[in-house]
Subunit: 201 residues, 3 copies
């Protein structure tokens, strides 16, 4: 019987401790913080497509959603005479879609990607991104902030999700990029696999 | 008696576990990490005012604290003939104050905001910020690092605090921006409500 | 005997709770998250050297690994007639080494630093960094993403490590910079003391 009493107290204790532990991880009034410690189990996943339609300097102002704000530097031709755009900074306000297709005329994309990339390698194409995914729909409102190296020589490469706002309050994670399609130097589509490991729900 | 013994052991156990739990969240020698899991209860709050005095290209070099490092691209006039500055990157070393007024001559502001913003929308004004708040006073020494979308169409919009140094070692949080005043295109003042959710104390 | 039974159950309980606690901090399949709450005990430390060889605009294209993508603005000479480069954005693809020496011809550096710095102070030299350390060796594969104010007036200054990928999955930390050597305006070497406080192992 005493053993049973102790056992029952142990159960109570376990409950108290569980509540304590939940209390440590939880929130009284606002959303509750979740940290996924297992890299195989993000707290949120999304696959999106990023469409970059670069202004060609001639005749596509109507369609283009990105443009070079600086010219390639003299070092852009040190290793390859055709140039690697080293030093060219491109500003973009690019549509981001759930499927591969660009939105039809009048259709809204699921998000906009707004920010810049900067070509930063002499030997080959490579760039550095700093931008926000801006969501403004019934499904999602808020931003996801990303940055990192787009190592274009690699089949897939990872950017860091360093913060978020609104529905993505204080998030962190990884965004895996993969080239999905391109047309010359004027259009490319990147598949973005976003895995968030810190969420507030 | 056995029950009492077990109960006393349970109490000891609870203390041991509490110490363990504090140990997990705490620090032996340096500052202790605090994570506020409740979005309503940041571990630190500040309201500051950011003053941007843009060089007009003519006659305000003596007062200006920011200047365009790149010109707007050709896409800046696609949707609005007066232009949305799309692609213009502005470098700034702006005073940041606790009150709304600019510091009097010779007075130091509470911090400097140093970094850049980049206009990144074709249809209207919108920008992307990457900068540091640099504190160097008796009250605060260190930096807060911020980035994100300044969605100027919204009454308030949030940037991410992605890191910090010195007094703001390893911090994370949110900075809510609100336009507080402006004079033409040469001056604007933003109210910055900074809420930090990861602090070291 | 009952006391012994209870004690034995307490032991079991302690094990269960320990597993629970490890479970909270740990991972089932992937790497396990470690947060060092003590600023004196990072989960990983590295000392590296960053070499910036700036294109001089004349005759060092063969050696240069960085180049100005924008010119200094008009405000760069407001406080000092020789100029503080205010508004000059420099793109770099710089070698990073474990020792102080530059890699010999044909030797690979331990990492590349790819990204940009932007001069952002009128009164003196000061810059803002956004870049990735790109590792691609048998020792390390992955990137460390950094940003922050390089307060060149200070003997040492700290940048934020805001994320990482590959071997540095989801990392955060601090990178302390110190000028280690320079030659005129064409070369400088920074000692980088990197201390990571969030690691996955």
């Amino acid at each position: 019987m005493q053993g049973l009493a102790a056992s029952s107290k142990l159960t109570t204790m376990a409950i108290v401790l569980t509540v304590l532990l939940i209390g440590l991880a939880g929130a009284a009034h606002g959303r509750r913080r979740i940290v996924s410690d297992d890299e195989d189990e993000p707290c949120k996943k999304m696959t999106l497509y990023y469409h970059d339609i670069l202004y060609n300097g001639v005749n596509n102002t109507a369609n283009a959603t990105s443009a070079a704000a600086t010219k390639p530097t003299a070092l852009s031709t040190t290793h390859w005479k055709n140039g690697t755009y080293f030093g060219m900074l491109v500003t973009f306000d690019d549509p981001v879609t759930a499927g591969k297709a660009l939105p039809a005329a009048g259709e809204e994309p699921v998000a906009r990607a707004q920010g810049f990339y900067l070509y930063d390698k002499q030997e080959s194409y490579n760039s550095w991104f700093g931008f926000s995914l801006v969501f403004n729909s019934t499904a999602h409102k808020g931003t996801i902030n990303l940055l990192g190296a787009d190592l274009m020589d690699e089949k897939t490469r990872d950017l860091s999700v360093v913060g978020g706002t609104g529905d993505f309050f204080m998030t962190r994670g990884i965004c895996t990029l993969q080239l999905d399609a391109y047309e010359g130097t004027v259009y490319f589509r990147l598949k973005m696999d976003i895995k968030l490991y810190e969420c507030y729900v």
